[in-house]
């Protein structure tokens, strides 16, 4: 069948009529397949939810056990039949539990990659290329300017600064799901074994990662009274980026604002946010990873969504690959 009729965008999200389900819907629906636990993809209030065990558990942590009427676990690599279509989940390498969703009917296969990345991440399974007719790719960093440097070099910048400014607290902004834990793991791998202080918004998710056997090391709550302020000299404190503009940041001695994000590659972005030490660590593909992935999978066509669709579509045209933008609304392509 024509891929445009197998999956198509609607105001509620990407819809599969033959299967009667939506993928990552942005409004409550009867049946939802969820790629991963980030809030713009995984929302509460759906009827049935099909997702990996980790994604379901993350949704329960974020929204409470009653986040949907009925949940069902998708096992990676297993094929299921829903209505008139078959569906399978495959690792996406984005955050713990993240998956691509392959949807097939009548010899046509579409892979919805969700958010994904190709480089190593010690906190989740690596991306698995799945041959398909249509590959739906994200394009968060879909511009040739984005070349994320090696993670170890970026974490090295943080360690250098800790040596250079031992009297200052190092406040690292990182999103609560995935990025925060990855930054902690990269620090541990770089030989940093001091306790790491975390903002209250990170506690439940870090505990969850620990329960999954991901060795984050010693974590302490970043709560402090004025008397203990000097104790944070030279400490690494991780919190959601929004907390740094808040009064919360005042409790630390002369803090250095740091932000771990792919956006930090562009100096003006860092400057606008008042970031003094940008750490370019992303849970999304950079330009080279996006284009390498498309070359590797070599799908019949590429549909490009949230981000800078036009540049990736242009690149596909130059490569002789059929491509078009897929206009989905409601995803936060800045949140990284």
């Amino acid at each position: 069948m024509r891929p445009e009729t197998l999956l198509y965008p609607t105001p509620k999200g990407l819809f599969c009529e033959a299967g009667g389900f939506y993928i990552d819907p942005v409004h409550p629906v009867d049946k939802a397949l969820i790629t991963h636990g980030h809030a713009d993809h995984a929302r509460s209030g759906h009827g049935e939810v099909l997702a990996t065990r980790e994604t379901l558990e993350i949704m329960a942590i974020r929204y409470g056990a009653d986040f949907c009427r009925q949940s069902q676990e998708a096992v990676l690599g297993e094929t299921m039949t829903i209505g008139d279509v078959t569906v399978s989940f495959h690792p996406a390498g984005h955050v713990l539990g993240s998956a691509q969703i392959a949807v097939s009917r009548g010899g046509t296969k579409i892979v919805v990659s969700g958010d994904y990345k190709r480089r190593r991440d010690p906190t989740c399974l690596p991306f698995e290329p799945v041959p398909c007719d249509v590959f739906i790719t994200e394009a968060t960093f879909g511009l040739p300017v984005f070349h994320h440097p090696p993670d170890a070099d970026e974490v090295g910048k943080l360690l250098t600064s800790l040596r250079q400014f031992p009297e200052r607290a190092h406040l690292v902004g990182a999103y609560a799901l995935g990025k925060a834990q990855r930054v902690i793991m990269l620090l541990r791998e770089a030989g940093y074994h001091e306790p790491i202080y975390i903002h209250g918004a990170l506690v439940k998710l870090c505990d969850y990662y620990l329960s999954k056997g991901i060795p984050l090391g010693e974590l302490r709550p970043a709560t402090v009274t004025a008397k203990e302020k000097p104790a944070f000299a030279g400490a690494v404190v991780i919190g959601p980026p929004s907390a740094f503009a808040d009064k919360w940041a005042r409790r630390f001695p002369d803090p250095i604002p740091i932000f771990a994000s792919g956006w930090m590659l562009v100096r003006q972005r860092a400057k606008q946010r008042g970031v003094e030490l940008p750490i370019i660590i992303s849970d999304h593909c950079d330009w080279a990873e996006l284009t390498d992935t498309i070359r590797e999978i070599r799908p019949g066509q590429v549909w490009v969504t949230h981000g800078r669709e036009e540049a990736l579509v242009r690149w596909c045209e130059l490569e002789g690959i059929k491509a078009r933008p897929l206009h989905l609304v409601g995803y936060d392509d800045e949140g990284e």
Binding site: L143, P144, V145, P149, V266, R314
Partner: protein, 547 residues
């Protein structure tokens, strides 16, 4: 190159002065020669390389990139050098083929390359350097660093590195050339102070301390001379052994912007004075305001028209060298006599003498200070008659006694979050005063200035709390706060001067405004009106409303 690139990346984003100095000293301590010397030159603006035009860079880029993709990228990033540094994909040669990628080696190649080979060299280096280094390299060859580091700050970092006074660095500075190997050897403690090969024509200046409470008690007025403190910029003019230069107080060479003064020099020596625009006292024409002087400042070159409209001159304060003779060890009285004799022979439109102010008691001088005879006077200077000319700011020989600042009561209108230490505080404030609105509107507030200091930490807490609890609207990082006749926050704003300005909606611009007091005792309706500010311009003198 990598270390230098990382230094630049950190400096650009670091707002704190002390942190910048630490980053610089750490770099200078660890980087080898001649890399650190070229880095110093690049930061201080003394590195001369033949620059590469932006168009050449664009062509190099388009040799290997689709123009549409390049345009998308450039539109997103906004800066050509940064865009190219990000989108350039190297050809990944073998590790062994990379060659020497140190800053020193790259500068050497750029200095020796022939015109015809520049493109090839740039292409090869872009291929071999990593992303961050590409950016630093492109900044070097396009001749625009713009990273928020003044040459003064760099010299302070050098001083800290070698635990020597910044004045010593300034004194040596113009006698040394990149890559400053002798300078670093000295600062590292490996060798003595460098011997200058050309006359060091800038000499660190002598500065005054402010008159504090009871500072003058017990001092005999007869031991001091007084002169007006003119509101221009302090400069040093040197003409020795054929080298003719005009320096700012911190030793920056500003000769390029003042050819009118340099051409008029017809004597040998070094004069300390105030740079002003308008007429000299010898020509009997009025000295003009600081805002007029600003038309001449911060320019590399200047047009004939600007020189005619804003003629500059130097008002002599002191004489450091009379011909080749070093006058600095002499007492002020002796230097002053020599200065008077020298100025009398100079062209009268470009040089005059700072007149002495006669007084018999501190009380008399105080009265003179509060009612100076010229609007371009910002206070009084007091100099001990027997003081030699000693660089730096020492308490005792020279005092400055400023006239009172201007004051107005204004209403907080907008607040923006600060940077660095203050990034969690609303610490940058826009304030306004009342003026008549359009027909039927009654009185409205019009913004008249912005201030981000003057208050104490405790006062900042109060201001920040007010902003957070009284936000009316948000525009990105800016909040507008409640400001109505009976509901709002009044602050006393102190400033050093005020002038008409067509760039501001209110039509006036303040100089050096700061929040001097929180007037929680006042309602916004009691704040000042725009007419009051305008009358200050006309009067040219401070208004004391509360006194």
């Amino acid at each position: 190159m990598r270390d230098f690139a990382e230094l630049l990346d950190r400096l650009v984003l670091t707002p704190s002065r002390n942190a910048k100095i630490r980053l610089l000293t750490d770099y200078f301590r660890t980087a080898p020669d001649p890399d650190r010397g070229y880095a110093l030159a690049a930061l201080a603006g003394t590195l001369t390389l033949s620059t590469v035009k932006p168009n050449v860079l664009r062509q190099l880029m388009l040799e290997r990139m689709d123009p549409v993709l390049f345009q998308y990228s450039y539109d997103y990033v906004g800066d050509l050098a940064e865009t190219i540094s990000l989108v350039w994909e190297g050809t990944e040669p073998d590790e062994a083929d990379l060659g020497d990628l140190s800053l020193g080696a790259i500068v050497a190649q750029l200095q020796t390359v022939g015109r015809a080979d520049v493109r090839n060299l740039v292409r090869t280096l872009l291929d071999r350097l990593d992303g961050s280094s590409r950016f630093a390299f492109l900044k070097l060859i396009t001749g625009s660093m713009r990273i928020g580091v003044s040459s003064r700050l760099v010299k302070q970092a050098l001083g800290e590195m070698g635990t020597v006074d910044v004045g010593e660095i300034e004194t040596l500075w113009h006698g040394l050339l990149p890559p400053y190997v002798e300078l670093f050897a000295w600062l590292d403690g490996h060798s003595g102070r460098p011997e200058l090969t050309m006359p060091a024509v800038f000499h660190s200046v002598m500065l005054a301390t402010p008159v504090g409470d009871r500072d003058l008690d017990g001092l005999d007025p007869a031991d001091f001379v007084a002169e007006w403190k003119w509101d221009g910029i302090r400069v040093q003019l040197a003409n020795l052994s054929g080298t003719r230069r005009l320096y700012s107080r911190s030793g920056d060479d500003i000769s390029g912007a003042f050819p009118d003064i340099l051409e008029a020099v017809d004597f040998e020596g070094v004069i300390d004075g105030e740079l002003l625009v308008g007429g000299t006292l010898r020509s009997n024409q009025a000295t003009r305001s600081f805002s007029d002087l600003q038309q001449r400042l911060n320019r590399k070159a200047v047009t004939r028209k600007t020189i005619e409209e804003y003629p500059a001159f130097l008002r002599g304060y002191d004489l450091l060298f009379d011909g080749p003779r070093d006058m600095r060890p002499e007492p002020f009285d002796v230097r002053r006599d020599a200065l008077e004799r020298l100025i009398a022979t100079t062209p009268p439109l470009h040089f005059d003498l700072s007149p002495l102010v006669s007084f018999a008691s501190w009380e008399e001088l105080d009265r003179l200070r509060t009612a100076p005879p010229d609007p371009v006077i910002e206070g009084i200077m007091l100099k001990r008659r027997d003081s030699p000319y000693t660089p730096g700011r020492m308490k005792g020989p020279w005092f400055k006694w400023k006239r009172e600042p201007y004051n107005v009561d204004a209403v907080l209108m907008y607040a923006q979050r600060g940077h660095g230490k203050r990034s969690s505080y609303y610490s940058d404030f826009t304030f306004g005063v009342w003026t008549e609105g359009d027909a039927g509107q009654g009185d409205v507030l019009v913004p008249v200035g912005k201030a981000y200091f003057g208050f104490t930490d405790a006062e900042l807490e109060v201001l920040d709390r007010y902003v957070r609890n009284n936000t009316v609207e948000r525009f990105g990082p800016v909040r507008s706060v409640r400001a109505e006749p009976d509901q709002g926050f009044v602050v006393e704003v102190a400033f050093e001067g005020i002038a008409f300005s067509s760039r501001h909606k209110s039509g006036v611009a303040m100089r050096f405004p700061r929040i001097s007091r929180l007037r929680t005792d006042k309602l916004p309706r009691d704040a000042d009106r725009l007419e009051t500010l305008v009358s200050m311009i006309d009067a040219g003198a401070p208004v004391n409303d509360d006194a």
